[in-house]
Every structure is written in C-alpha cells, then in structure tokens.
Symmetry: C2
Subunit: 383 residues, 2 copies
C-alpha cells in the first residue's frame, strides 16, 4: 500500500484543521458571482470562518457588508476594518453598551429584535449613547426558530418604537433554517421564495404604516444557491458556503469535491477483529455534530479521506470519544478498513464546517500553489 | 414573577461557563476519600477540567499523579509543576519527540501502546533521546474501543519489546467505556470488576513471561465510584467526577445537585404560540453532546435552571443552532415555559461536562464564600 500525503502536512501535530485555499476561493467566487448577477448585495456570515484573513477575501474591499453571530466576532472584525455588520442573533438588552462601543469605533453594527421589549431597550440605549443603534426586525418565514410572522401587528408596533427619537429602524431580516430539511435546488428555491415573500411582506407592512424599511435581508446557504427572483430584497446572507461540508453535499448544494475543510488525523491503532482503525481525531476535533444523521447518506462523524484528501467512499468515523475516533465501513457497505500502518495520516471531511472549525484555534491553510508553504490563519473564539 | 440571579453573575457577558467551587470541592473530596480508603492511588484525568487552577486542587501537592488526553495538556501541566502523567491515548510515533521534550523538562510522562509497531517506535525514540519513554500496554476489558485482550499473545510480545535496551515497560492500563451503558452502582461495580480482572490478567501474563508490570491502572468515573475489590490494582483513574453532569446523574453516579458546572445564558425572545423561549446559548456554548439521548431521562441539550442554579425539573434546551437555544418543556410533561422577560438570566446544566467546558476558554468560578468575588480560571485548549 502507498502512504500518500501532502508533504507540507507531514510535520503537523494531529489533529489539525486543514483548509484548501483553492477550493475555498472557488466557493467564494461561485456565490459572489451568482448574487452579483441578480443585482443585490451579498452579506456573508462570518460565523463559519471566524477569520480576519478569510473576511478579507470574502468581503468587498475587506470592509463589508458582513453578518456576525457574536459580539466577540463583531469586535474582532471591527478592529480589522470591517465597517458594516449585522449581529444576527436577537439582542439581549445588556449587550447594547458593548454594541454602542463597537459603533463608536466607526463600525456600522446593526442589531436584530423581535419584541417590543428589545425595541424599547434599543431606543433607550440609542438615547443614552447619543446615537442610533440601528435595528432590524426579525421575520419568521418557516416556523423554525425566532422572529415574528410578517402579518403580526407586533411588526408595526416594534417598527414604530424604532422610528422614534434616537432609534433607527433599519429594516427586516429572515432566515429559512427549514431549508436544511429539504434536498435539491428546486426545494431550496421554494424556501428562498418563502424567505423573500415573508421579508417583503414584513417590509410592506412597515411601509404601509408610514415606516421606513431600507434593508430587506434574506438568506441561508441552501437558499442563496437556489434563489431565483429577488424582487423587493436588498441583500442575501450565507455563511457555510465558504467551506461547504457533508451536510451541504447531502442537501445537493455542493459536491463532496467542493469541501474545503478537513481534519488531519493519525492512525493510532486497529481492532482487526472488528474491522476498525483508531485515529487521534475524536469529538474534540470533529465535534459531535451529526448533521448528516437524518440525511440519505449518514456520514457518521465525517467521511474518511487519504492524506491527499481523496475520499474512501464508504469509510466513515463511525463513533468518537474525546480524543479517539473509530474508523469503520459505512453500515451495509462491503468496504473494509485498509491495514494502514500506525502513523498513517488521513483526512476527515466534516459534517458541519461551523462546528468542526470551532474546535480549533487556527487553520493550516494549504495554498493553491503546490510548492508554497502552509499559512496559519487564526480563528476568533468566545463571545 | 421573580428574577432571581446571583448578583455576581449579573454583569457577565453571556453565554458564560459557571463553576460552583463548593460543589466541585465536594466532588473531588468524595472520590479522593473513597479511593484512599482502598489503599490505592487516584490518578485524576485532567481532560475534563483542563485547568491548572483545578489541577492544583485535584492532585496531591499539585504534582500528580495525573492523566492527560493531549500533549497540549501535558505541556501545560508539566509547565505548572505536575511531575507524573500518563498520556492515555494510544501514541502516534510522530508525537514521541515532543513527549521526550516534556520528559526532558523533568516530568515523568508515560505513553500508551497496543501494537508492536508503537512499541518499536517507543523503544527507538527512547534510544534516540538517551532515556526511556515509559510505556503502558492498553488492555481492552469490554470491547469498547482500543487495547488488547489480556490473553492476546501481543501483550507479551509488546512487553518484550518494551523491556529491552533503553525502553521501559511501565505496566498495563484499561478503561471500561462500556460502564456508560449501564445504570446504578451494582452494574458499575460489575464493570469495575471487569476492568480489574482484565488489567490484572494482563499484568499476570507479563509477569509469567518474566516481564515487570509495576503499574496496573483502571478506571472511569462510573466504575471508580462503584468499585469494591481492587486486588492487584495500583491506581484508579477518573475525570468527569470533578464537575459531574447530567449523563453521570442519569447513570446514578451523582445527583443533579452535585453538578458543579453550568452555562449562564440570557433570554432573548419567545415564540409564545409554540411555548418556546429563545436563549443565547446554542451549540457553540452547550456543545452538541446528546449523551442523555439514550438514557431514561433525555435532557435535550441541557436542563434549565433559574439564575441561582435551581432546576426547572421539566424544562430543557430542546434544540440548538449555533448561537440560539430553544427552551421548551420536556416532551410529555405538562410544564410550560414561564413568561421570562427578555434579559432574564438562566443557567443550563450540561449533558457532558467535558464537551461543554471545551466550548469555553475559561471558567467563571463562584467561590464558596457568598460575598467573595468571582475568579477567572483559564482552560488549556488545542493539541
């Protein structure tokens, strides 16, 4: 048997988080061109990459627009020169002082609300800090999580609170989390249309009440890659497409060959009677995200590849402990685990790029040029 | 309704990782006394706490013996003065130089092997570095993961390799991961006896071949709290008992009231038609560990408590996204989610302390003295 590996990876401690720069750049370009052609703005979600280096490649001029999921991200990206962000998690009143401090440094950070209590808190903080903290109203397009139905009278009630005094009503925002429950571009296009219709209905309710609604923001990685008509929408958000992952491949949004992220791991043993190999990537490295569990092809804790990143189609990480992974054939397959020598390097493609990347504090970036050295890109963590 | 919270927590950003020092000290004392009374050594596993501050409370004189799961832990704890550690994950040959470097700084770090290939690599590295890297042979007592059956001729083969030249055969080690599949002290005592019997059989096989076996190491949190006879065993290992968690409570190893770790979170909204509250602890804070899924009481992504840590017996985090948690009544219960104002602080008890703690870079430690300020204890991360 051959021990194949990229020589640049051979000296890394394992487990390590490997990023294929060429694949990432293709993924970034694919969605950027798609959304640009539709004449609306793309507002990438930085919660997947959490990297200043990647934000510079992802955002127009490295400045925005962008979406974030924590104030830790907002602070790091604001410090790196990102000037336009939405913090797309319903805001807790106690966070508003910290948000005002980020805004005071010149970054247009907007927040998200779906209750009058939050709107009052935002209005009060805007007055107290002597400048608006712009807020969007979260619209619920699919019953998945947070937000208000566009016909809920609370939309106009909140809009009215945010249109007084020092506050600023920035617009509406929705996210079709339910798009992860259906497969294929046609089904995702239907969720995209639900996003569009709900967000536009929310915007129209505000405008009918004489309120402004400059921003109409929709998006998820599945819907952004399938959306057709965008009438009334001003921007599209998406995050995980930067790397893609097995969940997205299972949804038909990408091919396995587009996945830019993998975990480098070392074979540390075998249980030959059981047909297992043991590797040094457990859930601490792979996370416990089992996002493909409900999909047609359950990938366990990840799909196993050789050291160069070529998948073994039927070998998965079947179970994990903290620092142990058990590699086994996919149930029902007649594949078997090769007799890899102890020390063999493998790579594991992630179920969910956001979860797996979050287990590491940096990326080992494999540049497009075959002879260029690896680059180290740190990740932002915490809140 | 009353908004109860420890005033010391009220100013923390959320989500935050809260450690109740008094509960932790009781948990530490309980097992220390139990194992000491049996006349063997306790070798705590530091992979749960990953904290130098906690290691000092946990280890005899802060120096050891201890168990670690990564070389990152080994380096951090060696630098903090821990002098005796076992790296209890089968060793990859490429890691031996780094291990030798830790040993060269005066820490007796031993490794684990279950193949002749690893033993040869350890022997070769011992020669190359001019000093033994002591190794234990991993014994499989329950078919759970790694290791050799004690009757496997490879045990003596490996022992022989490790007893030559510059190498050092330190002993045998086993772990009954299968003990997590059974409930109650009686069942755990049976797994403890399997651990003991398998480890001692491995040791006897080595000794019968004229090989030394000074260390006979067994343990898991469930078996360590149930083990009765320890004939032939020299040390017991356990890790998660320092904090305990809902999995251990479900196994009957502790009570919910013993759990020392919780995630502080803020209510950011409601979906009243669905009976949900939305909180700012998603899987990034709670991890995706669903360790109670197969237990009698499925705790979702964690059991919800008020701000003082008192559980709502039937409210769980029913689902999570990256930075959103959905609080809902346990299926089948007639509980309902209170109409908590946005901004209310709650605490969530973890399914699995190791997984949840790993999502944070430090503990916010609530001291035993009611008026003492919070302490910040950093965590070790990475590999």
């Amino acid at each position: 048997m051959t021990l194949v590996s990229d020589p640049r990876l051979a000296q890394l401690p394992t487990p390590a988080l490997i990023l294929d720069e060429a694949r990432m750049l293709r993924n970034i370009g694919r969605l950027a061109r798609r959304i640009e052609a539709k004449g609306v703005s793309l507002r990438p979600h930085l919660k997947t990459a959490k990297s200043v280096d990647i934000a510079k490649l992802l955002l127009t001029g490295g400045r925005g627009p962008a979406t974030v999921s924590t104030l830790g991200e907002a602070e790091a990206f604001a410090a790196a020169g990102v000037l336009d962000m939405i913090y797309a998690v319903g805001v807790a009143p106690r966070k508003l002082d910290r948000i005002a401090a980020i805004r005071a440094r010149g970054c247009d950070l907007a927040v998200l609300v779906d209750s009058a209590a939050q709107a009052h808190a935002v209005a009060e903080a805007s007055t107290r800090h002597g400048g608006a903290i712009p807020a969007l109203i979260e619209i619920d397009c699919d019953g998945h999580r947070s937000g208000l139905k566009p016909t809920d009278p609370a939309v106009v009630e909140i809009g009215t609170i945010l249109n007084r005094g020092d506050a600023e009503l920035r617009g509406v925002l929705t996210h079709a989390g339910g798009s992860y429950g259906v497969v294929g571009a046609e089904a995702h296009a239907r969720f995209a249309e639900s996003e569009r219709a709900a967000a536009v209905a929310g915007a129209e309710a505000l405008r009918a009440a004489g309120l402004p609604c400059p921003v109409v923001s929709i998006g998820s990685s599945p819907t952004a890659h399938a959306v057709d008509g965008l009438d009334g929408v001003t921007e599209v958000r998406a995050g995980v497409y930067v790397f893609f992952d097995l969940v997205q491949a299972g949804l038909g949004v990408c091919a396995v060959e587009n996945i830019a992220l993998s975990v480098l791991t070392t074979v540390i043993g075998h249980q030959r009677e059981k047909g297992w190999a043991i590797v040094d990537a457990g859930w601490m490295a792979l996370s416990q995200d089992r996002g493909t569990r409900g999909q047609t092809l359950d990938q366990g804790y990840g799909l196993v590849c050789d050291g160069l990143g070529k998948p073994y189609p039927d070998l998965i990480v079947a179970s994990t402990n903290q620092e142990h992974g058990i590699v086994a054939p996919r149930p029902g397959s007649d594949a078997s685990v090769p007799d890899w020598p102890v020390g063999t390097l493998l790579r594991v493609l992630p179920n969910h790029a956001c979860s797996v990347a979050a287990q590491f504090d940096h990326y080992e970036v494999v540049p497009s040029e075959p002879d260029a050295p690896l680059k180290v890109w740190p990740r932002v963590s915490g809140w």
